[in-house]
C-alpha cells in the first residue's frame, strides 16, 4: 500500500469522528504550547543575561593578569611575555598598557582636565581595532592621542556651579571651544617630596582624537603618552609609573621604573570560537586570565540545567495529552474492528494496518505540535509585550532593564517539542495499533469485536 493512500485512509478515518479527533489535537496542542512557553522563559532570560554580559565586554577579549611562578608567587606581565602571547594560535592582537599612577592634569589657557594617562603600543592597539576620529597617531615623544570624550570634558578653571550637563560632560559654554588637534597642552604631574608638594609641567601636542566608543555608555577620556614621557615623569617622581608617595613615605634612594611591566594586557582572539582555545593555552602556560567566555560557560551551564528542567516539566503535559491520544486510538480501533476484519480478509497485511494506525496517531500528534508551536509564538509575543506593562503597573517606579526578554523561542525549541511530541504519540499509538493487527477476522466480520 502506497504512503499516499495510507495518508488518504488516515484522513478519511479522522473525518469519521471529527469532535474526538479535534479534542485530542487540542489537548496535544495545549501540551506542546505549555512546553514551548515554559522553556521559552528559560531561553528568554538566558538571552537577556548573555546579551547584558556581552554588552559589558568584548567577547573576543581575554585579560591576562599575571603569570604564576613555580614557587607559588605571581609576577606581572612584562615585555618578555608579549612574543609568547602573540605566538598563540588565533591571537589577533596583544595590547599592553602601562598606567600613569596618578591623575594627569592637562591644561590649555584657562581650561583644564584631570584624567587617566597610559602608555600603549599603538600598532597592537590598531590591530585590536583602535581607530581615530581625527588626526594621526603620535610620532614624536611629546605627541599624544586623547580619547573621544576628552575634548568634551576640557572645562574652564573658573569656579562655576553648573559645569556639567545631564550627560556628565562639561557644558558647551564652559568647554574649550576650539579643535584640540595640533594644540599644545601642559601636562602637570606632582610628587610629595619630604612632605612638600612639587609639581612638574611637561608640554605635549595633541595629534589625534580617538573614535567615538561604539557603546553609548562608555566614556573614553584616556590620554596616551609616549614611553619616553612616562620615563621622564618617573625620573621626576622617583617611583615606578609616577606613583605619588604618601606624606610619610621616604623618597626612594634609587630610581624605580616600570621597567617593561604592564598594568593592562589584553589578548584579542580572531573570533569568538577561538577564545576558549586561547584561554586553555594560556592556562597551560601558567597565565592568569579572565574572559567573558569563562563566565558565559558557567551562565550557559546554569541555564541549560534550568531549561532541561523546564522542558522536562513541559514533557509531562505532553505525556498527559498522550493519554488522550491513546484513548482516541483505542476507540478508533474498537470502532473500526469490522472494517479492519474486512481489510484483513481481502488481504491487508497486518503491518499495513499497524502502519495506518501509527500514522493516524502521529498525524494527530504532529498537527497538535504544529498548532501548539504557532500558539506558543503568539503567547511568547504577548508575554514579552504584557509582562513589562504588568510589572510597571504592579511595582510602579521599578524600571526593568531595557531589552529584557521574558520569552524567547529559538528554532531548536519547536524542533525539540515536535520530536518529543512525535515520539510520545508514536508510543501512545503503538499499543492500539498493535491491537488492530490482532483483530480476529471472523469475529470482526460477525461484528463480535
Amino acid at each position: 500500500m502506497k504512503l499516499r493512500d495510507q495518508f488518504r485512509f488516515v484522513r478519511q478515518n479522522m473525518k469519521k469522528n471529527k469532535t474526538r479527533v479535534f479534542m485530542t489535537i487540542l489537548a496535544t496542542a495545549m501540551g506542546c504550547a505549555f512546553l514551548i512557553v515554559l522553556a521559552s522563559v528559560g531561553f528568554g532570560l538566558q538571552k537577556s543575561v548573555v546579551k547584558e554580559m556581552m554588552e559589558q565586554r568584548i567577547v573576543t577579549q581575554i585579560d591576562v593578569h599575571a603569570k604564576n611562578l613555580k614557587d607559588g608567587n605571581v609576577r606581572p606581565i612584562s615585555d618578555k611575555d608579549i612574543p609568547t602571547l602573540e605566538k598563540i594560535k588565533d591571537v589577533k592582537a596583544v595590547t599592553r598598557r602601562t598606567m600613569l599612577q596618578q591623575e594627569g592634569i592637562y591644561s590649555i589657557g584657562n581650561y583644564q582636565e584631570g584624567t587617566e594617562t597610559y602608555v600603549t603600543n599603538f600598532p597592537a592597539e590598531v590591530k585590536a581595532g583602535f581607530e581615530l576620529s581625527v588626526g594621526r597617531l603620535p610620532k614624536a615623544d611629546n605627541e599624544i592621542v586623547v580619547g573621544y570624550d576628552f575634548p568634551l570634558n576640557l572645562g574652564t578653571k573658573d569656579e562655576v556651579e553648573d559645569l556639567y550637563d545631564n550627560k556628565g560632560h562639561v557644558k558647551k559654554k564652559y568647554r574649550y571651544p576650539e579643535t584640540l588637534v595640533g594644540k599644545k597642552l601642559n601636562l602637570t604631574v606632582q610628587q610629595l617630596k619630604n612632605g612638600k608638594q612639587e609639581k612638574k609641567k611637561l608640554q605635549v601636542t595633541v595629534v589625534g582624537i580617538g573614535k567615538k566608543p561604539t557603546k553609548e555608555w562608555v566614556e573614553d577620556k584616556n590620554v596616551f603618552i609616549s614611553d619616553k614621557m612616562l620615563k621622564e615623569i618617573e625620573r621626576f617622581t622617583g617611583t615606578p609609573g609616577g606613583a605619588v608617595l604618601g606624606p610619610n613615605d621616604p623618597l626612594p634612594e634609587k630610581l624605580e621604573t616600570t621597567n617593561g611591566r604592564y598594568d593592562q594586557v589584553k589578548i584579542y582572539a580572531k573570533n569568538m570560537e577561538a577564545v576558549q582555545g586561547i584561554v586553555d593555552k594560556l592556562k597551560e602556560k601558567n597565565y592568569e586570565t579572565y574572559s567573558i567566555v569563562n563566565e558565559l560557560k558557567q551562565v550557559n551551564m546554569m541555564f541549560t540545567i534550568a531549561k532541561a528542567g523546564l522542558i522536562f516539566i513541559g514533557t509531562i503535559a505532553i505525556l498527559i495529552a498522550s493519554i488522550g491520544i491513546y484513548n482516541t486510538m483505542t476507540m478508533a480501533v474498537t470502532e473500526r474492528a469490522p472494517d479492519i476484519g474486512i481489510m484483513k480478509a481481502i488481504g491487508a497485511n497486518p503491518k499495513t494496518i499497524k502502519r495506518i494506525f501509527l500514522l493516524e496517531s502521529s498525524y494527530i500528534g504532529l498537527i497538535g505540535a504544529i498548532i501548539g508551536t504557532v500558539v506558543s509564538y503568539g503567547i511568547s509575543y504577548a508575554v514579552n509585550f504584557l509582562i513589562p506593562l504588568i510589572i510597571k503597573q504592579a511595582f510602579g517606579k521599578e524600571e526593568l532593564p531595557p531589552g529584557l526578554t521574558f520569552s524567547d523561542i529559538p528554532p531548536i525549541l519547536p524542533i525539540i517539542c515536535i520530536v518529543i511530541c512525535y515520539v510520545v504519540t508514536i508510543l501512545s499509538g503503538h499499543r492500539p495499533a498493535q491491537r488492530a493487527t490482532r483483530v480476529d477476522v471472523l469475529k470482526a466480520m460477525r461484528r463480535e469485536v
Binding site: M1, N349, P350
Partner: protein, 230 residues
C-alpha cells in the same frame, strides 16, 4: 489448484478448567482442479464454514495440509497468507462484508490500494469492473444505499478486481431473493466459463449446489459423498 489433505480441526469451548473439545473437521481430503466449480454442502454444524475458513486462512487447522496454486498455505504465517490472499484469492460473503463508510467504487478499489496499484490504473480497472457487474451508475453510493443484489455485485467486483484464479464463496446467495439469486448464479457460471476462475462455494441451498461441477457433502466434519453432478 486446491488440495486439502487429511485436514482436521477442533474447537475448544467453555471456561478455563471446564473446557470442552469439539472436533469439527475429521480427516478431510479432496482436490479441486483449475476451472472447476465445487460446491460444499451440508447441514448446519457439519463443518463446511470451518473448512472454508481454514482454506481462506482465517483459522489455522490443527492437522493436515492445504495447497493452493502450488503453495502450501497451511504453513504460511499471517502476513504471508495476507499477501497470498491479495494475489490469489477472491472472496464473496453471505453478508457482503462491504465497508459502510466507503462508496461502492472505494470498496471495489480497496484490494488494488492494498496491492499498491497506481491511482490512474485503479480508477480504470474499477470502473471497468463496475460496468461489467452492472452497477457503474451506483459507484458513488454507499453500501447502505444499495439493495442486497447490488451489494453482492459490489462484493463480486471487489473479489474480481485482483484477477484471482480462485474465488471462495460463503453462502453467496444467502441474503438474496430468488430472482437475484438466479442472476448471481448465472454470473458465477459466466465468470467460470469466460475467465476460467475456480470457485469453491459453500451452501446449503440446493439450487446453488447444482451449479457445481462436483458437490462435496459434509456430515459431522467428514466427507460423506464425492461425485460428479450431471
Amino acid at each position: 489448484m486446491i488440495t486439502v489433505d487429511n485436514l482436521s480441526h477442533e474447537f475448544v469451548i467453555g471456561k478455563k478448567g471446564r473446557q470442552t473439545i469439539i472436533p469439527v473437521l475429521k480427516n478431510i481430503s479432496f482436490k479441486v482442479d483449475q476451472g472447476e466449480i465445487i460446491t460444499i454442502v451440508g447441514r448446519s454444524g457439519s463443518g463446511k464454514s470451518t473448512l472454508l475458513n481454514a482454506i481462506s486462512g482465517f483459522i489455522r487447522p490443527k492437522e493436515g495440509e492445504i495447497w493452493m496454486d502450488g503453495v502450501k498455505v497451511s504453513e504460511l504465517n499471517e502476513a504471508k497468507f495476507a499477501d497470498f490472499r491479495i494475489h490469489h484469492l477472491g472472496f464473496i460473503f453471505q453478508s457482503f462484508q462491504l465497508i459502510p463508510s466507503m462508496t461502492a467504487f472505494q470498496n471495489v478499489e480497496l484490494p488494488l490500494i492494498l496491492k499498491g496499484v497506481s491511482e490512474r490504473e485503479r480508477k480504470q480497472q474499477t470502473e471497468e469492473l463496475l460496468k461489467r457487474v452492472g452497477i457503474l451508475d451506483y459507484q458513488d453510493h454507499y453500501p447502505g444505499e444499495l439493495s442486497g443484489g447490488q451489494q453482492q455485485r459490489v462484493s463480486i467486483a471487489r473479489a474480481l478486481i485482483v484477477n484471482p484464479p480462485i474465488i471462495l464463496a460463503d453462502e453467496p446467495t444467502g441474503s438474496l431473493d430468488s430472482e437475484t439469486e438466479e442472476e448471481l448464479l448465472q454470473f458465477i457460471q459466466e465468470l467460470n466459463r469466460d475467465l476460467g476462475i475456480t470457485f469453491l462455494i459453500i451452501t446449503h441451498d440446493e439450487k446453488v449446489a447444482k451449479i457445481g461441477h462436483r458437490i462435496i457433502e459434509l456430515k459431522d466434519g467428514r466427507i460423506v459423498d464425492k461425485g460428479v453432478l450431471v
